[in-house]
Amino acid sequence: MGIDRRKFVKVAGLAALGFAARPPIRAFGQEITGESLEIRESKAGELLSGAVEEIKRAPHPPKNANRWAMVIDLRKCREHQDCTACIDACHKIHNVPSYPKPKDEIKWIWKEHFNHAFPDADHDFIEEEVKHSNALLLCNHCDNPPCVRVCPTQATWKREEDGLVMMDWHRCIGCRYCIAACPYGSRSFNYREPKKFLEEQGIKPQPDFPTRTRGVVEKCTFCEERLARNLWPACVEACPYNALTFGDLDNADDPVRILLHDNFTIRRKPGLGTQPEVYYIV
């Protein structure tokens, strides 16, 4: 892949900075513990030594995570505005139908214009490139989820062990109270019968994950069924540019924590107290 002059100067500059950063990081790290110091230093060194690909994703997600979270690097998405790899992967393996009528639409992860995704951060003088870019939206798996609070049957609940907000499609009565309660528009209702539609379209569903039936609400589940098999969520794995980082917030050495430490991140509608766990690097 070609590298232009501007990029080279950026990379070289960051590399220089990376080397300069080692002493202060070492000094800071020493205050924690010797062991974590080593890991922190190498990871940070990797990050700041400025390759376009930085923290390499491990082959498997951490086991026994306490608090799953995701960091989305929108800078990378901006460089590839037409990319829909994460959306395609998610919707394919979860057999999400794509209906012709917008009112029946089901989406687990989708793109929204910047000023719609972050209305509070929007103003007239944001850099053009950012202002007209798309942000990637999905269920935020909030720490204080209002959808869970309102569900009358606990068809959606927050898992205590890892913070994931789950769905039980056997129990959902389709009252759509959770849709009313979600401040992010993350949830979709099955107005139609998905299996019948897929059959009519001649699309054979992926066998490992059931479709849902009509009359239930669905949303992203952070690929709970893949995490149970020690696989990364489909969107994370499908992204060709490493824009999605997924990991355990409870582990200070996890890549999500490092990204959050080293970059300024924003979340959607933080003032509502939902504690969303999807962070955006803008």
Binding site: K103, R149, V150, Q154, R171, R176, F189, N190, Y191, T274
Partner: protein, 395 residues
């Protein structure tokens, strides 16, 4: 007692047959919806509650309004309402059943509704709403059955019914408060998240419900031998007047807070309702505008007719006032409140909503079912009363 509903003249049976026809057509429409899913409605990913939930919200208010005749009569011995309490309670029964039916037709998986009780969830307001409305239905059935039965036998109702009657008063307030809580606790919907939601609900309930009761009494006076008397209707009219005035006042309070603060998240909903807003494609969406202005004009007309004593005293104008109150609030609470809560959506785009034919037929059928229940129950009450003079409850 119920067999009294089968004794009637030609006009009675004509009404019954018309209502059954309306219900039949709507039932067929529901079979279509049950087969295909809620896609046959105008609901969308953004506007996920529409006509059905709007009717439910409005009818919970009508159900609660029985308290406006029960409270004065039982708590304050206001004898004027003696003939009306059973009618109020029967209206509440019909309204509660209509509420439950609207919920049933709105659910994605209606046969899983028992899950709400099997997996009872105290932190969900919807759970408490089912308890409240179910309990209120039970209370009204029990109370009206016992009181009417005693009346028929010419004796005073048994003493043990009094606690149930007393409980039904705060319970009526609570059913509508809990329904308001469904909306007013949601951080996601700034249009609904206002402390004034529950008081507004109560004010509109206590104006639309008694207004309907007045209309029903006037109809009964015209077509049957039943006459509640002029005074009780006038007293009810005063209640409607105060309640409507408070309701309109509260709406104006809401408009002020949104308009003066200018916060887009709050103001945009009012803008959409009264002036329209552009959707994501740049098309101006104004489908609620004519409804909301109609509702506002009707509200003003009704207040003029109600506040001026000379107008209120003339029963023809009073009937007109009650009709305008009813329709104004039906629009405001139904189409105005529910759909607007979702428009604009959480990402601040506008998705318009309009009910489909199937949705409207089903809605009409449920109203028809409510009208049928009211017809049957009122027939029972009136037929029994013809046989005996109503006995005042004495403790």
């Amino acid at each position: 007692m119920i067999e009294k509903a089968l004794q009637g003249g030609k006009s009675y049976w004509t009404l019954i047959i018309i209502l059954l026809a309306v219900i039949g057509v709507g039932f067929l429409a529901y079979l279509r919806q049950f087969a295909e899913g809620l896609t046959v409605t105008g609901l969308s990913r953004d506007v996920s509650w529409g006509l059905y939930i709007a009717q439910f919200t409005f009818l919970v208010g009508v159900a609660a309004s029985a308290v406006m005749v029960v409270l004065p009569y039982y708590l304050h011995n206001y004898k004027l309402f003696g003939k009306l309490t059973v009618l109020g309670e029967f209206l509440a029964i019909a309204a509660c059943i209509m509420c439950m039916t609207f919920i049933f037709v709105d659910m994605g998986q209606p046969f899983r509704i028992p899950n709400v009780f099997i997996y009872a969830t105290p932190h969900s307001v919807m759970f408490w709403d089912t308890v409240a409305i179910g309990g209120y239905l039970f209370l009204n059935i029990l109370i009206s059955r016992v009181v009417l039965g005693s009346e028929h036998k010419g004796i005073a109702p048994p003493k043990w019914i009094k606690p149930f009657i007393i409980i039904s008063i705060p319970w009526a307030i609570s059913i509508h408060t809990v329904t308001a809580f469904l909306y007013s606790g949601l951080a996601a919907r700034p249009f609904w998240m206002t402390a004034v939601m529950a008081p507004r609900f109560l004010a509109s309930a206590f104006s639309s419900g008694p207004a309907l009761l007045i209309i029903l009494c006037l109809i009964l006076r015209k077509y049957t031998k039943f006459d509640p008397g002029r005074e009780p209707i006038q007293r009810l009219a005063v209640i409607v007047t105060y309640a409507m005035a408070i309701n309109v006042f509260l709406i104006l309070m809401e408009i002020f807070t949104a308009a003066y603060s200018g916060i887009p998240e709050h103001l945009d909903h009012f803008r959409y309702m009264f002036f329209g807003m552009e959707d994501a494609q740049g098309v101006m969406r104004t489908n609620l505008v004519p409804w909301m202005w109609t509702s506002s004009i009707l509200a003003v007309i009704s207040l003029v007719l109600l506040l001026v004593p000379k107008f209120r005293a003339r029963e023809g104008l009073l009937a007109l006032a009650c009709i305008t109150v009813f329709f104004s609030l039906w629009i405001d609470k139904g189409m105005g409140m529910i759909v607007t809560g979702f428009t604009p959506n959480p990402v601040h785009t506008v998705t318009p909503y309009a009910p489909t034919l199937i949705e409207s037929l089903i809605t009409l059928a449920v109203w028809g079912m409510g009208a049928l229940i009211v017809t049957l129950l009122y027939k029972v009450a009136l037929t029994m009363r013809k046989e005996v003079e109503p006995v005042r409850y004495r403790d």
